[in-house]
């Protein structure tokens, strides 16, 4: 059928074509090999990196926050081990059953239960579900006892913020809480270190020192698969705890301050008059910052927010108050410094029936019967208003404001340390023109002389003012931090004539320790504790003629309209070391409400001073 010659042609044709294709095959094979060489040898590094990028993922853990310590090294804000309950949904055989078991063991309410179920739906099945973030020891042990029945449930001990002295340091330290979007956006440190569950300072020193406190994240490096599931841990890099910050405060005094102001609204500041160390600074009422760490409940929050005594405000530095009579030492000092009057200058105070009259306005002394003829020392001692009206009139507001500013009024004491500190206000003619656009009135000078009118101070400013009077008129820089090595000019004199300061100190002594002194009843005779002070009663409302006739007792006036009671003092008198300021909002008169607090406080302060001294000398010995 097929003839031989055709077959030969066919065979030669197929073999020729085979040869052509064979060569093509070799070339193509070479192409594949060179492609392999290109990928695997030449570009190997690039693809190796990409492959590692694929499979290795890092997890940041929340960093351990630095502590706050008081002067004696007691931790006042630290960390504690919070008992938490974590659960990985995919490791649980029967989620519904397990959750119901947990619900009964922990006695969760339906609302809490629903919240957890909702959160479970938002995460991937292999991600951690935090069932409870702060369990009591009792519940934690109950869970541990029932673990045989709770597959996939993990009891975890995690580190969390703790304030052992609760409400005592709330206004100094502030508190931490879950970082929100604002925190992340406003602070690069937080942004860099953010992980789910990171807590950051919201207010106070916790916020100011966020960058030192926050610490460094621990990093876990895991091998993950294509779906992001962790397969194995490759490395663990231990993070660093944040810095410990040492404060100048004394917890014993701080605690006493809290006790003294309990159920009252007010502030106590205590300052070392030489170093400027703030030994105590309390604002009352306070609240427990621990309740914010795991998120405060709506009810508790409303309770704090709607409290008429305003626990959220740090009254020591954010409360602007009329200083009342506590300004009188500065008025007197200013008059003496400017040679307006001498200490012998005498004024007759004739009581309510014969008030000082100026341009049709009347200016009353607080004492109905009047003080009679008073010189400067007597006027300070008995806090005669009429005398200071007269001195202020002669002095003028501009000179007064100059002295007041020199002594620390009218500007932030801590500078940028707190973002909620207020400046206060020391008025002068220029200020009124600029701020209100009107000319200064003489009457305004007169009421400024007794610390009313435009003038406003924070309790801490009053404390600083008193401290600088007590140390002989030298400039100090108040601080809350021990390691504050600012190279500021220390101890610059603020007065021209040291005798003037001596006189003021002596007058304040008489006010507390001599009969008819406004705080005579709160004196301590033991020279070890003896202190000198000046009372103040700041009106919050203008006193009308009707009020004067009624002459109501404090308890009979509505709370909102009662006077603020103030007291500033320093001690021990013979060898002064500490200055204090006390404010009781709507407390009544300074002499009857604020000064008695000072009596208790000074005992403690002086006793603690020895402990403080010992502690410092021991510290040097150790070195």
């Amino acid at each position: 059928m097929i003839d031989q010659s055709d077959n030969v042609i066919k065979l030669s044709s197929i073999n020729r074509r085979m040869f052509i294709l064979g060569i093509a095959k070799i070339i193509i094979l070479g192409g594949i090999v060179s492609r392999l060489f290109f990928l695997q040898v030449k570009e190997n590094k690039k693809y190796l990196t990409l492959s590692d990028k694929n499979r290795i993922r890092e997890w940041k853990l929340p960093p351990v926050r630095g502590d706050f310590q008081d002067f004696f090294g007691n931790t006042i804000a630290g960390n504690f081990e919070a008992y938490q309950l974590h659960l990985i949904p995919e490791q649980v055989d029967n989620f519904r059953y397990t959750m119901n078991r947990i619900k009964t063991i922990l006695e969760l309410s339906d609302k809490e239960f629903q919240k957890i179920i909702k959160r479970k739906k938002e995460i991937k099945p292999w991600e951690t579900l935090i069932v409870a973030d702060n369990l009591s020891w009792k519940n934690f042990s109950k869970i541990n006892n029932n673990l045989y029945d709770l597959n996939g449930v993990k009891p975890i001990i995690s580190i969390s913020r703790n304030y052992p002295f609760k409400e005592n340091y709330t206004h100094i330290l502030g508190y931490v809480s879950q970082a929100n979007e604002n925190d992340i956006a406003s602070n690069d440190y937080i942004k860099e270190k953010f992980v789910q569950g990171l807590k950051v300072g919201k207010i106070g020193l916790e916020k100011t020192f966020e960058e030192s406190l926050i610490g460094n994240n621990s990093i876990e490096r895991y091998e993950v698969n294509a779906y992001g599931r962790r397969i194995s841990q490759l490395a663990f890099q231990q993070g660093d705890k944040g810095q410990t910050i040492k404060l100048t405060v004394d917890t014993e005094i701080q605690k006493l301050a809290n006790e003294l102001l309990i159920d009252k609204s007010g502030s106590i500041c205590v300052m070392d008059i030489f170093t400027g160390h703030v030994v105590a600074m309390h604002s009352s009422p306070s609240f427990d910052p621990n309740s914010f760490v795991f998120g405060i409940s709506q009810d508790d929050w409303q309770l704090i927010r709607n409290n008429p005594m305003k626990p959220l405000i740090n009254k020591s530095i954010s409360g602007n108050y009329s200083p009342g009579s506590t300004i009188k030492p500065i008025v007197a000092l200013s008059a003496l410094e400017n040679d307006i009057v001498s200490p012998k200058f005498t004024v007759q105070c004739r009581g309510h029936k014969h008030p000082l009259e100026l341009y049709g306005q009347t200016y009353h002394c607080w004492k109905k019967e009047g003080h009679g003829y008073v010189n400067m020392r007597e006027a300070m001692k008995q806090s005669c208003d009429t005398y200071f009206y007269e001195v202020a009139r002669k002095l003028g507001v501009d000179k007064l404001s100059e002295t007041a500013k020199k002594f620390g009024l009218g500007k932030k004491v801590f500078g940028n340390l707190f973002d909620n500190e207020k400046d206060g206000l020391v008025p002068n003619t220029l200020w009124k023109k600029n701020a209100l656009g009107r000319n200064w009135l003489l009457g305004e000078t007169i009421i400024t002389g007794i610390g009313q009118g435009y003038i406003q101070t924070t309790p801490l400013q009053l404390c600083l003012m008193t401290a600088q009077i007590a140390n002989g008129g030298h400039k100090i820089y108040p601080t809350l931090l021990i390691d504050n090595n600012d190279k500021k000019d220390k101890f610059v004199s603020l007065v021209n004539n040291p005798e003037n300061i001596k006189f003021i100190q002596e007058a304040m002594f008489s006010s507390t320790n001599e009969i008819r002194g406004t705080s005579y009843r709160s004196r301590i005779e033991d020279p070890r504790y003896q202190f000198a002070g000046k009372t103040g009663t700041a009106q919050v409302k203008r006193i009308t003629e009707r009020d004067r006739e009624l002459d109501l007792k404090t308890s009979e006036i509505p709370y909102e309209e009662r006077d603020h009671a103030l007291y500033v003092a320093f001690g021990p008198y013979k060898n002064p070391r500490y200055a204090i300021s006390i404010l009781v909002e709507h407390g009544g008169s300074g002499g009857s409400v604020a000064a008695p607090i000072a009596k208790t406080l000074f005992k403690k302060i002086i006793d603690r001073h020895d402990v403080r001294k010992d502690f410092v000398s021991k510290k040097y010995l150790e070195i």
């Binding site: 059928m1 097929i2 055709d6 077959n7 042609i9 066919k10 065979l11 044709s13 197929i14 073999n15 074509r17 085979m18 294709l21 064979g22 095959k25 193509i28 094979l29 594949i32 090999v33 492609r35 392999l36 060489f37 990928l39 695997q40 040898v41 570009e43 190997n44 690039k46 693809y47 190796l48 990409l50 492959s51 694929n54 499979r55 091998e223 993950v224 698969n225 294509a226 779906y227 397969i231």
Partner: protein, 374 residues
């Protein structure tokens, strides 16, 4: 004469074993072992379903290959048209009663095994066309009649497979057919013209493509346009191969596959896994095994006395080569993703069955190389 025949028949069985191509057989066995090891790795170092199933299939189909090789090449010649028609029938059956998986209807259920007729067609189209051209005189090959018939033989299964839809396999079937036409001596000008026509009509062909197929072409041209979507496979595959380096990451240590970054690692992307774990040297070794297999197939074709056997061997060898190259080019990012398995290595019974039948017929041609077909 009768006695002589009988004597010959007696020694037949041992004679046939002796006549087997042991180099080819060894290479197939080595390939089988490599594929089993790789399959074991895809199962994350455990003997799981894929490994077991692949092992069983490999053993059965290797035995089947030997059985096929013991039958006279004349039998396979005579079954040429019949087997082709049987597979066409199966393809038609598939269209109506096939099993659908991942969007296309490719398998038919034979109760003990699911079979993919389109894979079998890759072999039987060669067998059919080889028979068709065996009888043709060279001058008749280029006649209008034979060109039309051969084109029908190619286009019929091709269109049946496109309907499934499985463009990749359809292309491979047609390439197998075209290879036979080339060896049969079809005039070069036909190839030249049809290539020209294809290039000219490319825009029209593309407009007929399904959206996902267009996406594959676009992705091939620029894999980075959608790295987590359409480009994911090819990018991850390149990362796996590239990160293997000279010596590879080591057996069972391929992170890309072990951590499930590699898609389709049992089937189309098996070479990626192998290459990641055994590196450049491993890959070249694998290529060498394939090259030896193809070389032996061509060698057998060269020594075969019958034109049919020669044509089949050459075409089968060339087709094997094309399958391997297309699969590798695809995973190395040289071609768009078309579903094409790597012979023997990839998981999949039908593909292995077809390849083994092919090897069996080649072996049969070797054993019966002195046999001429009238």
């Amino acid at each position: 004469m009768y006695l002589h025949n009988k004597l010959e028949n007696k020694g037949n069985f041992f004679q046939k074993i002796k006549n087997l191509d042991f180099v080819l057989l060894t290479c197939i066995l080595i390939l089988g072992i490599i594929s089993l090891a790789t399959m074991y790795s895809t199962d994350s170092g455990e003997v799981l379903f894929h490994t077991k199933s692949h092992f069983v299939k490999f053993v059965i189909f290797t035995l089947l290959m030997l059985i096929v090789s013991f039958f006279n090449i004349r039998l396979w010649f005579s079954l040429g048209y019949f087997s082709y028609l049987a597979v066409v029938a199966m393809l038609i059956w598939t269209i109506h009663f096939g099993i659908t998986a991942s969007g296309s209807q490719r398998w038919i259920d034979l109760y003990f095994i699911n079979i993919q007729p389109s894979e079998l067609m890759k072999i039987f189209i060669i067998l059919c066309l080889a028979k068709f051209f065996h009888r043709k005189r060279l001058e008749n090959v280029n006649s209008f009649y034979s060109v039309i018939i051969s084109l029908i033989i190619i286009f019929l299964p091709m269109s049946l497979v496109i309907i499934q839809p499985d463009l990749g396999t359809a292309l491979l079937i047609s390439i197998s057919g075209i290879i036979v036409l080339w060896f049969a001596g079809l005039n070069h000008k036909y190839f030249f013209y049809s290539l020209l026509i294809t290039i000219v009509s490319l825009p029209f062909i593309i407009s007929f493509l399904k959206p996902y197929q267009k996406l594959r072409v676009l992705t091939f041209l620029n894999p980075d346009r959608d790295p987590l979507g359409a480009g994911y496979q090819i990018i991850q595959s390149k990362i796996a191969v590239g990160s293997g380096g000279l010596f590879g990451k080591g057996f069972l240590k391929g992170t890309q596959s072990y951590l499930e970054f590699l898609p389709e690692k049992h089937t189309d992307f098996i070479f990626t896994l192998f290459s990641e774990e055994f590196g450049f040297f491993g890959s070249v070794f694998l290529l060498l095994i394939y090259a030896i297999i193809i070389y032996r197939i061509i060698k057998i074709g060269a020594i075969s006395r019958s034109y049919f056997a020669k044509l089949f061997c050459y075409s089968f060898g060339a087709s094997m080569f094309v399958y391997i190259i297309i699969n590798m080019s695809m995973v190395l990012g040289l071609l768009p993703i078309v579903g094409s398995p790597l012979p023997i290595m990839s998981y999949g019974g039908s593909s292995m069955l077809a390849t083994m039948i092919g090897f069996g017929i080649v072996m049969s041609a070797k054993v019966h190389s002195k046999q001429s077909i009238a």
